[in-house]
Symmetry: C2
Subunit: 275 residues, 2 copies
């Protein structure tokens, strides 16, 4: 873990060599990964967070007055302590009395708590994203469906549209078979992340239908409710719906045609470079 | 000028130390700065481009079959030549027979051509963006209004929402007074640019009303028309409308509250840093 002060992005947190969060833009990530799922369902009550040990997602869940129970599974207690020390405006999420911290692996937690009947499960536990990550395996998604109420929702971080370590189209197809409700891909800008954007996969289980693209709670989250010390910085219902609009290359699942002359196919040599 | 091959973004063009364009993401910038204005008006006929010497915006204008005249004012002929040599898929825009290249200053061109009666003027001539740049002065905007037909449109590059060297709210107010039509701010992602996004100011003159947020040409631009060698990579009408949805901090014109602990106000010292 490394914490440092930057000139342009405020304090920065780095884990295993990968930038996790900066003070300047954490609002974009934390608010979107939280309110995209929670504003898509009526009156969320029980929420589970896997990962997200910094506390920022807890802070955002805290704005929802209908929520009565917030469980978080974070495997690394030192990470929690470092955030509490250096990022109090983010770790403030832990001050919500509805929060219970489980210092353990999220998959083991789900396995030992079948029938969790959660309204929403948020997964913020990758770095770096790998296509073979166990959190993208069918068995994990099936475990999630068993822990959600009918019509409950999953939101899981799922790669930038500019990269293709994940085949998002395939992932959406797979999840449609497993979840049997709605499955959509959304994205947000996060300047400090590679390529400046990050995606989310949103899935709902069989049950009351969920229309992720049109938030059912346009006036939620309640800006003055919970432990957050100020109003929303990033999320609003317009941005919610816009998050599902994809550039043409991403829609067609054809990243390869963007920058088609890349990776050494170009003809520039050192001799050609003009300075 | 510097041209180099990168591992992740293809060929890169740098001017006066500022990254101008990469092969991987140029589509986002060129398509949005072109089609946001041109798809907002019916059958654009005469288009003026100020700057944009690389040719990519010409390539995109070229997709509009209603266009009969494309003027470009580019002050730097060497830039044009370098693009033609190293970025043929971008400079291809010059191959459109409707294009006339004027190697001169855009402001002088407008001054010597009053009553240009353009349907659209696109300005891509900044780097770096400075609030005191002459292209943000009232006199320039007034010159533009004189060169547009009634209900004609301007699209000009206008800073990232994450920075505040430009006071966008003030700029929008000023332009509403000068243009007397619609004035809106839109943005797109461009991974290789600082903060990963860039904004556009869109203005229409007094005349037939223009609703920038809802493209009037949802089926244009014509993907197979003109000199571009392939279909659109980024732009579509959903992305067009989404480009006007702003994060809450940008809506309120209050960038200062994002990263409010930045710029030395934070309490981290070298001693505190954990590694």
């Amino acid at each position: 873990m490394m914490v440092f002060q930057s000139s342009a992005y405020g304090k920065v947190f780095v884990l295993d060599g990968a930038l996790q969060l900066t003070e300047k833009d954490e609002c974009a990530y934390q608010e979107m990964i939280t309110h995209l799922p929670l504003c898509s369902i009526p009156k969320p009550n029980k929420v589970l967070l896997i990962g997200g040990g910094d506390g920022g997602i807890l802070r955002e869940i805290s704005r929802h007055s209908s929520v009565e129970q917030i469980d978080i599974c974070e495997i690394d207690m030192m990470l929690v302590d470092v955030y509490k020390k250096f990022f109090p405006d983010i770790a403030v999420g832990y001050e919500d009395p509805r929060v219970t911290l489980h210092v353990r692996d999220g998959i083991l937690f789900l396995e030992s708590n079948p029938g969790g009947n959660y309204d929403a499960i948020i997964v913020d536990a990758f770095d770096p994203i790998r296509p073979d990550h166990e959190l993208f395996e069918t068995s994990f998604f099936e475990l999630v469906t068993k822990s959600l109420r009918p019509g409950g929702v999953l939101c899981i971080q799922a790669e930038s549209i500019w990269f293709h370590s994940l085949d998002i189209e395939q992932l959406v197809k797979k999840c449609r078979q497993i979840f049997k409700g709605s499955v959509e891909y959304a994205w947000t800008i996060v300047p400090a992340y590679p390529s400046g954007v990050i995606g989310f996969l949103l899935c709902s289980t069989d049950g009351p239908p969920v229309n992720f693209k049109n938030p059912i709670n346009p006036t939620e989250p309640n800006e003055s409710y919970g432990v957050a010390k100020g109003p929303l910085k990033f999320y609003n219902s317009e941005v919610h719906s816009a998050a599902f609009c994809l550039p043409s290359f991403a829609k067609k699942g054809d990243e390869s045609k963007v920058g088609s002359t890349m990776n050494g196919v170009g003809t520039t040599t050192t001799k050609d470079v003009i300075k």
